[in-house]
């Protein structure tokens, strides 16, 4: 699979993606290629389909129409083993979703042990390296209930990284955090971006978008309205809906 990447194939290719919930149209035709090492920041008003798009990419939602290819493998195809694809696609959620009955360490080691059949010792060693990376090595034996929101979210990032994903999806990961805890999570993500991780980041953190994003996508009503360099779009949004959105949020900054 790595070889296909070298030949210039996109990490993620989304073709004509549609998603309906009953009569509600969440996604109305998305076409998007994400190249390796890109950090794509996805912004847009709530209900614009950003989260739905992320959830379609790793199969948490089933596409109504269209195709999604991860490293050339069609996620929407019935014969595709979605579990294999998910090993390559890490996801971090707004509500952390740590496993409350397991310690931070066990949260990180569970999937490598059960899915990759890694030995306990190997998984532990790897988990400690990752927890150290997110600055929480000393919290390895703490249960989620005893961690702050920011710490929980950083454990959740370590948990996703433990599967050695090629792409990371971040779904409004700082929206549920107290303001003073946002930066510690963003710093972790920044570090990840600098290491060359391919990332799709749904966020309202415009500072992060400008500083870390290599590409910005503005979505509204289930379609990609604008797509380009973050700074350029901030300074000179082309589409009226983008202009409207930025004028509203920038007035708060």
């Amino acid at each position: 699979m790595k070889t296909s990447l070298d030949s210039g194939e996109p990490m993620i290719r989304i073709v004509d993606l549609h998603k309906k919930f009953g009569d509600f149209v969440a996604l109305a035709g998305i076409d998007l290629d994400v190249q390796p090492k890109q950090v794509v920041v996805v912004v847009g008003p709530s209900g614009s389909g950003k989260s739905t798009m992320l959830r379609c990419i790793n199969g948490l939602e089933q596409a109504t129409r269209g195709n999604i290819y991860i490293e050339g493998i069609d996620v929407t195809h019935r014969a595709t083993d979605i579990n294999k694809v998910r090993e390559k696609v890490g996801m971090v959620f707004q509500s952390f979703n740590l496993f409350p009955h397991l310690t931070a360490l066990r949260n990180v080691t569970l999937a490598p042990i059960k899915v990759k059949k890694m030995s306990q010792d190997e998984a532990n060693a790897k988990a400690l390296v990752l927890l150290d990376k997110v600055g929480l090595k000393e919290k390895a034996d703490a249960f989620p209930a005893h961690l702050s929101g920011g710490q929980q979210q950083r454990v959740a990032i370590a948990r996703a990284l433990a599967m050695d994903p090629d792409v990371m999806l971040f779904d409004e990961v700082t929206s549920a955090l107290d303001p003073e805890l946002v930066s510690e999570v963003l710093d972790t993500m920044k570090e990840l971006a600098h290491e060359g991780m391919t990332m799709l980041v749904v966020t309202h953190e415009m500072g992060f978008a400008k500083e870390v994003g290599t590409r910005l996508i503005f979505m509204d009503e289930g379609v990609v309205v604008e797509d380009g360099d973050p700074t350029q779009i901030f300074n000179d949004p082309q589409h009226p809906r983008t202009q409207d959105f930025f004028s509203k949020i920038l007035s708060h900054m």
Partner: protein, 320 residues
Amino acid sequence: MSDAIELNPEGQMLSEFEKPDVSGWAKASLIMGILGLTALPVVGAILAIVFARIAKRRILLDDALAGDGLATAGQTLGVIGLLLAGLAIFILLMQQRLHDFIVDFFNWDTIKFWWPKVGRAFLTTLKLAVVSEFFILLVGLFVALLRISKLKIFRFIATVYIDVIRGLPLILQIFIIYFGLSYLGLNLSRFAAGAVALTVCYAAYEAEIFRAGIESIHKGQMEASRSLGMTYLQSMGYVVLPQAIRRVIPPLSNEFIMLTKDTALVAFIGLSEAFLVGKEGMGRDANVTPLVGVALFFLLVTIPAMRVVQYLEVRLSKGD
């Protein structure tokens, strides 16, 4: 030094000398109370209460009178005396009936002969309850998983099973399953047939408890687990169920207590558990004592079990 200062004012000195008199009625009440318990039953007790009332009213109106405590003591003795007298009269009047009651419900000879037998049979009761519960938990969990399956056919099967079982009296199911099994050519022992019947019935109830427990776990848990590449069953087994089971331990324990009691119904297909043996004893000796023994054995287990469940409820709710 402070004593000297306090003694100086005239008012203080006076009150020292004018110690209030203890009401004579209060003293009389106490004496009558004592008499009411000894030499002069009923009359003494009534007088003690009457005197105490008079004493209390006087003490209330007159600041110079004391003895409220004495009056209360007399009153209390009077009430106790009256109750004892009443009890004595009751026993006297109902002597024959009480005697009959003890002979019928707590007959010493019957106790000696039948309670050990009942006790041994109660071990069968407990064994039936434990063996059944083991299979109930397995089947119940399995049915719960069918009930929440994505496949309509599984959900349908589970729903029909749960509805039918919950819509029938247990005793009816026990008979139908017992005779149904032998009709199918399965010649199970009475114990095994009883265990099957109880499992079929209780699994339906426990399936619903499991389902409620599983559904109470936020769906983000399943999503997070699935997004790590774990299969549905892995996610269930390692992430959702460990949390769900913790939550349903108290209701499941309650079900287990109910099951223990309901094993008595298996007597109707002839398994010699505690109730059947007790009933047999009742028939042989024309005496209720064996059944009282059965009742006591059940309480010996169920009451502590209920306390344990209560403790678990408090403990586990704190853990969340």
